[in-house]
Amino acid sequence: MERNQMRRQLALMRQSFFDQGFLDEQFIQLEELQDDANPNFVEEVVTLYYRDSSRLILNIDQALERNPLDFNKLDNYMHQFKGSSTSIGAKKVKAECTQFREYCKAGNSEGCMRTFQQLKKEYAILKRKLEAYFQQARQAGPLETACRSRN
């Protein structure tokens, strides 16, 4: 059945996110919160993440154009970014956030800028992957068994 094949592919796609280090255990925690009352919880949280963080990225980009850099402000922004990324289990993005904050603490402008480019790259890759994943999930149809019933 085509649907079963799609679901299998979906499962493989999902597993690859973990195997390749894009997502961590926190993502699974989000999946566990998905239930009959909240059937699209994960997608909703991820959508919110991309909406919130796109604003942050804009702010950081602008802040990085200043001279000299306001490391305190940058650190604050990045603290937010890291918090959000942690909440959805974006492993690689989170790592770049940590790296950025280290450079902020050390006052290393070049380090910050370099890391931020890398961060944006990881961010975009993950966004693409998750969009594809959710699209396929919608096509494969709702998995009755995937939702845990409300406690």
């Binding site: 499962a11 597993q15 925690q29 566990e32 949280v45 993440y49 650190d75 909440s87 845990r148 019933s149």
Partner: protein, 479 residues
């Protein structure tokens, strides 16, 4: 007239008739000569007879040799056929077994409801036990020549019995049999021995009890055998010697089923023995179950026996095995039991009114989703002003995210405390923090915060936290 005889047998009779008026006169020495000749002939005749008999015997021997040879070849063929059969059956049985185990494992990796997960786990556990049984059963040669070795390790003894109970309960409840398990107070939780084979033995014995009872109850008792009870009249050649790092486990399974004819009992442990009575206590049709149990029990330096007052009078199966006591240092290698076990206490927090304060939108949404999943009635705010404005005496718990720069979570907590100082109903305040250190913890305690939790939090963790918090009004986990 003279008889030609050798020894006692008479072979022929030579008659010499001498008419009294014959022309020839026989002298005595001539008659003696005739006698000698007759004797010689007798000897010759006897030799011939012996020769004939020996030739007959030789022919017979040759025939017997041929027959024996044929029988030997037939036996060899039979053994080869048996081994081929076992090898084929081994493979035939292992292939579907492997499929069951592999696919069940894969199934576990997919998204399942808790009920489904439990079912899959039971399937996996049963399949693993069955696979071990197949390996042991079909490896007759190993059991035959006693080269089977136990897999010794430290394991949870209490769980073994609980597992058996879980596995057998479905069958027993279908037959409306009640099963009770009684583990003695002094029965060690952890022991050293072959966990799988001990479980197999218990399962086999309990399974038999279930199989041969149409109604009634089955009781399983397990306790540490003391010296007096170790020496049993039914096992006169069993001399157990308890020591400091070993103990003897005694298990008794009593059922009210079809019972056994006491005369049949010795045969039950012999493999492949066919009992005359229709109700045979050997598990399955091949009669191997109890034989295997006996092998295992013997390897564990123990003894197993059955008692029954007769047909329809139930049966008690008892076995004693020697198990090791794990050293204290081993306990650190044992699976760590968490301080607050999952699902401890309350599991439904429906209607619990909580307030979540977090300035990070994503994090706020996740925490809200988590608490709603547990049934809470969640309100959210994103700043301390909103928090102070929104918090009321109806809120039973307030979650503050204190890793927010620029907002002093502690001050907020102090302010909330002051707000409710004169009221009887005060909300519990819990700090959520990504930073964990002693200073943070101490600061929290100082301002009267009831609990500190490190992010990220799983559903299970939140559940047990809420449980403990509502029970004890305080929670400070090791950070």
């Amino acid at each position: 007239m003279t008889g030609l005889s050798s020894h006692t047998k008479c072979y022929a009779l030579m008659v010499l008739m001498l008419p009294s008026d014959s022309a020839r006169q026989w002298h005595v020495h001539e008659l003696e000569l005739v006698e000698v000749v007759a004797d010689q002939v007798a000897v010759a005749l006897s030799h011939a007879a012996i020769l004939e008999e020996s030739m007959r015997a030789r022919d017979l021997l040759m025939e017997q040799n041929v027959a024996l040879d044929l029988a030997r070849r037939e036996a060899e063929t039979a053994i080869r056929a048996r081994n081929d059969f076992l090898a084929v059956m081994n493979h035939e049985m292992r292939t579907p077994m492997h499929a069951i185990i592999a696919l069940s494992s894969l199934l576990q990796e997919t998204e399942l409801t808790p009920e489904q997960r439990l079912m899959v786990e039971t399937i996996l556990k049963s399949s693993n036990l069955l696979a071990t049984l197949i390996n042991d059963v079909l490896d007759l040669s190993k059991l035959e020549d006693g080269s089977l070795q136990l897999d010794i390790g430290t394991f949870n003894l209490h769980s073994v019995f609980k597992e058996v109970l879980n596995l057998i309960k479905p069958v027993a409840s279908v037959k409306k049999l009640s099963i009770t398990l009684n583990l003695a107070q002094d029965l060690p939780v952890y022991a050293v021995g072959d966990e799988k084979r001990l479980m197999q033995t218990v399962l086999n014995v309990v399974g038999n009890a279930v199989k041969f009872s149409k109604e009634g109850s089955i009781s399983i008792i397990a306790f540490v055998a003391k010296s007096e009870s170790l020496r049993d009249s039914r096992a006169p050649d069993f001399f157990p010697m308890p020591s400091d790092n070993h103990f003897y486990l005694r298990v008794q399974v009593k059922d009210s089923g079809s019972g056994i004819n006491p005369q049949e009992i010795p045969k039950l442990f012999t493999k492949f023995s066919q009992s005359q009575s229709s109700a045979t206590r050997n598990s399955g049709g091949n009669g191997l179950g109890l034989a295997i149990c006996k092998r295992f029990v013997n390897l564990m330096e123990g003894h197993i026996w059955l008692e029954s007052d007769g047909l329809a009078k139930g049966c008690t199966a008892t076995f004693i095995v020697k198990l090791g006591i794990p050293e204290r240092s081993n306990e650190s290698k044992l699976p760590f039991t968490p301080k607050v076990p999952a699902n401890h206490g309350q599991t439904n927090f429906s209607g619990l009114k909580v307030l979540v304060m977090d300035d990070n939108g994503v994090s706020r949404m996740v925490t809200k989703g988590l608490l709603e999943h547990l049934g809470c009635d969640v309100s959210t705010v994103s700043s301390s002003e909103e928090c102070l404005h929104g918090v009321s005496h109806e809120h039973q718990v307030v979650f503050l995210d204190v890793c927010m720069p620029g907002i002093d979570g502690f001050d907020l907590a102090v302010t909330i405390r002051e707000k409710f100082a004169k009221r009887h109903e005060k909300p519990l305040i819990v700090a959520l923090t990504g930073n964990t250190d002693k200073v943070t913890k101490e600061n929290c305690m100082r301002v009267g915060i009831n609990g500190v939790i490190q992010k990220p939090i799983s559903v299970d963790k939140m559940r047990s936290i809420l449980s403990e918090l509502l029970e004890h009004r305080v929670l400070y986990e090791a950070l």
